[in-house]
Symmetry: C2
Subunit: 119 residues, 2 copies
């Protein structure tokens, strides 16, 4: 991950429709969603949707595959973790006290909410 890539990703995520698409696809999981389904969820015309999806794909945040008549889009998770790493890496060189709280804030988000007992 270099600066140029990071800028592209931030630009991609700075647009409401695109941010929603990314979050939708992240939640949709590895199977992804057809462009048409995304368009319905976003209430966006096909050309507009296509514009945003290709923007996201260029930034490396989503990938696409053809499946019959549909084109299926799915999130590219490593891009997100690389981005986060890019954001935090520099700050941690000599300032680990800064990033440790960030990690602490993140950790609970990755615990599977399986039972009511939290211990």
């Amino acid at each position: 991950m270099n600066e140029r890539q990071a800028l592209d990703i931030f630009a991609a995520l700075s647009q409401e429709t695109r941010l929603r698409i990314v979050r939708l696809l992240i939640n949709a999981g590895p199977d992804g969603l057809a462009a048409g389904s995304i368009g319905e969820a976003m209430e966006a015309a096909s050309s507009r949707l296509s514009f945003h999806l290709s923007h996201l794909e260029t930034a490396g945040l989503v990938q696409s595959r053809r499946e019959g008549r549909s084109i299926i889009y799915s999130a590219v998770y490593p891009t997100l973790s690389d981005l986060i790493e890019f954001l935090l890496r520099d700050c941690c060189q000599g300032h680990p006290e800064i990033c440790t709280p960030a990690l602490a804030a993140l950790s609970p988000c990755c615990e599977k909410p399986k039972g009511p007992a939290n211990a």
Copy 2:
């Protein structure tokens, strides 16, 4: 952290000068840097710098304080961790296998590089 805030932060970080300022301030630590020093580092005219700094401040990524004739800017670290949390939170609801690698990628970045022995 809501969607609107996240959009503002991504927009703030999607501009080359602003991303560099944020990284500079993150590395500068809690003491921060005077606007003039930042301007030198960025080779940016004062009005241009001011435009970007106020953009960053509005997004909550930096804060400022007056110190004599100078205005000192410093990074707001919690905003970054909130942003990361916002990005990852949804995806982890039901998809912890997605976020765990992200965290694994992050963890080493927060280890203080103290000695040559890496074990």
